[in-house]
Symmetry: C2
Subunit: 496 residues, 2 copies
């Protein structure tokens, strides 16, 4: 057979079905596992096909924080004294994603969040009823609740009451991903209705004459097998950050100088299969991107400037929002971006940072640093004079960094070069994909459901749409939640 | 028959063909007209279907400047004393579109430009061998050559030798579009091989079992007719700026507060038909956008600032690049954007501007203006102090506005509010569409040509990819050039 991901096979060209099942799932990461569990629990027989030799996908490589709240709060939020209304969570998410947001998806996620927490708990995912108050990228203790986004920072704190929604799984160290994946895998194994095939490359979909997806072709042990899926196929095959050509074509602003993070299977084949079956795509140009400038949290006392010496962001926001702003500077007004810190803020940078930004200037005076990094004369002096006066007054009148992180920056000072391509670590992954309903149904460009086709996780354009509004835990939250919805929809469709 | 744009009809479902031709063209704007002429001149019979009651499309509503150069210069460029090498033009375009650029398309356009000028001349399009030296959005005289982009401004002047490439058609007033369309229409009428149908709505494409495009369905006078196109279909149906739902879905950053410019048929149906036949799309999130702050050209002596009082662009660039920067400010660091001018620069604003930006502050002193527009105290003072010192020294050390437009700004001063949604005119149209080869062949998401399908003009993602690098004349240049390429390819395919 001759086919590519985006060229589906016609049903009438299938000689015989090697496997028949209710629901076929492409990809065994967190989305695929949750789809399998939910489909089985809805009464369907399920076959899961995973390209790699084991499941877990990109979730296994992540911290696996899970972003949840609303409905008065999850059990953990309530135990820690937070009342998080659904309206409050919705207001935050709508502010976070703005014009890019899919309001139906946000509503479904907000409405379903607390129940999703309960479901994860029922699966055996452990959450300790404690809060971690550090400004951290991930929890290294087994504490649960922490701010993982910009909720407490301007302008989000004007739009919604700040509440922490990152739920760290109860495990020491940065080991949430492996633990979550192990628990989900065990739950899948415990379900007799589910069969998992690893080292199984799904090649393309099978479509009926009417345009419905009725199965797929998978290559296992050098054999191409036709799989019939009575209830449909769920695409949970990740994003496309590992496909350099696709990134260059669809998200060109992320194609140079950044580092894709994900698993090697994030090559976009799930998205291409969907397109081949008639799906529309949205948000393909957007990526999550970050610049892990904390830890040490003390660097939040520093300021980001461009090569005009201008500040451009309140530095107490989420690291991904800072990265997004740094990229925006470099795409429009500026060629260089620096993080300026004093000795105390610089602190443990060399020993504990992931940032990899080189020190490109130091100064016993502001003028000296300004000259060393080739800023136009007087620019850094003007910016720091203003910033220090504001810090002293306890109010950042320009960018609204919270008082907590305001402190005069006095020489000696150091400049870290955060320009793309000059050493700094700018990891990214894609946030665009198939357009879907909250049910997981995949939509055509005219927003009609394609019968038999579902997508979840990063194969779909999900809740998070831009790094500017992202919070850690949104992708694993979205993957597990959307996987469940898609698995349930596919299973339920059999009885229609 | 039941169908939507993106749901093609299968060939076997066609009872009989009402019309049979070599090449069918969807849309009779500049791209469609040029495709028709070129296809006919390649020996093909052509049927053109236009939704409106007459041809012309968005080109008829435009100034119809045409962006051309390279190859040592067009006849006009050479007469005006400019030698414009292809490498020079290529360097400019690659700088202009950066990561978003399609280098193959840029190469084809640059290589073909001078010959395209000759072809337009041979069609009867008149170009006077004169240059207009004004800083203008369009020529109101019948002079030809003018700078229509940012060629002479930083940073483009570092990447390529500045050369004017905007070719205004020889006609008084802003009447290039109607004249160009009349000439092209007459050329089409003169060709017996071409039949044009107006008030003819193409509903969807017809595809063979193998996936080739073999025709289309058109509704004329309440009848749905199947049209067989032996050489293929050329989609020249414009962009999607008039389709609010598509703009919101694909280019959400342009969905609020901006004004679509184009013809009412720019609803994206050509793009949807292509997707339905298996095409990939690129650059869907990008639009041309502008803020027509000149005329009066004197406002270029002013400065743009955000609500931190910061400048962010050299004001002597093309108006579209300024608009792009203003949008970037509002999407990231800032909520407001102002144009600050002194009395002399403000000059004829009230009588001749298209900007519609309201005056929201005036000041006999800088401090007074600063307070009136609620800028944090000292910010505008600092920015103007710096700017005025740089102006006096004859060098804009921060943003590199050229010396020609540098002058101290002294009170009394005026502030024009250029924030989106507060009165300013921000026209936009889409720059995304079907992925095509320079030949006009439409590509799948895996970049394989779809047999029998071609696209040109704004239905395809063409040479211009972002307002940040745009120059007036690029869309009409691209439409006429890509239309010709596509028409020729479709016609030539018959003899293969």
């Amino acid at each position: 057979m001759k086919h590519t991901s985006a060229s589906p096979i016609r049903e009438e060209d299938i000689g015989s079905w090697a496997i028949e099942t209710d629901v076929a799932i492409v990809g065994f990461g967190a989305a695929g596992a949750c789809a399998a569990i939910e489909a089985a629990d809805t009464g369907a027989d399920v076959q899961v096909f995973e390209l790699a030799s084991a499941g877990g996908g990109s979730t296994a490589m992540s911290s696996a924080e899970i972003y949840m709240g609303g409905n008065g709060g999850t059990a953990v939020q309530r135990s820690c004294g937070y009342n998080d209304s659904s309206d409050n969570m919705r207001a935050f998410l709508n502010t976070a994603f703005g014009a890019s947001s899919d309001p139906d998806k946000v509503d479904a996620y907000v409405d379903g969040c607390a129940a999703h927490y309960d479901w994860l708990s029922s699966m055996g995912v452990p959450f300790k009823h404690t809060e971690l108050k550090d400004r951290a990228i991930m929890a290294l203790t087994d504490d649960c609740l922490l701010y993982t986004g910009s909720e407490a920072a301007w302008p989000f704190n004007l739009a919604a009451e700040p509440v922490p929604r990152g739920h760290n799984i109860q495990v020491e160290g940065d080991n949430g991903g492996p633990l979550l994946v192990r628990i989900l895998t065990e739950q899948v194994s415990a379900r007799e209705r589910v069969s998992v095939h690893c080292d199984a490359r799904v090649l393309t979909l099978v479509v009926s004459e009417a345009g419905a997806v009725v199965g797929l072709i998978v290559r296992i042990d050098m054999q191409e097998l036709a799989v019939r899926a009575r209830g449909g196929v769920v695409l949970c095959a990740g994003g496309f950050c590992m496909n350099e050509a696709m990134v260059r074509r669809y998200a060109p602003m992320f194609a140079e100088g950044l580092t894709p993070i994900g698993n090697p299977g994030d090559t976009g084949t799930g998205i291409l299969m969907g397109i081949g079956a008639g799906a529309g795509t949205v948000n393909m140009h957007e990526c999550f991107v970050t610049l892990p400038f904390y830890p040490p949290a003390s660097l939040t006392y520093g300021i980001f400037i461009n090569d005009k010496g201008q500040r451009f962001i309140n530095e107490d926001v989420y690291h991904g929002r800072v990265a997004h702003a740094c990229l925006a500077q470099q795409r429009s007004v500026s060629n260089r971006v620096y993080l300026i810190a004093d000795v105390e803020a610089y602190g443990e940078y060399e020993s504990i940072s992931f940032l990899q930004a080189p020190v490109v200037g130091t100064g016993e005076t502001i003028e000296e640093l300004e000259a060393e990094i080739d800023l136009p004369e007087g620019t850094l002096v003007a910016t720091l004079t203003r910033y220090n006066a504001d810090a002293e007054a306890g109010e950042d009148k320009l960018f609204h960094k919270s008082r907590q992180w305001l402190r005069r920056l006095e020489p000696p000072l150091v400049a870290l070069d955060c320009t793309i391509g000059r050493g700094s670590f700018y990891p990214f992954f894609t946030l665009g994909g198939l357009d879907t309903l909250p049910t997981g149904e995949v939509l055509t460009p005219e927003r009609k459901s394609i019968p038999g086709l579902y997508a979840a996780g990063r194969t779909a354009a999900g809740v998070p749409r831009t790094a500017a509004g992202y919070a850690s835990g949104m992708s694993v939250g979205d993957a597990t939640f959307s996987g469940r919805m898609a698995g349930r929809s596919a299973a339920a469709s059999i009885h229609c």
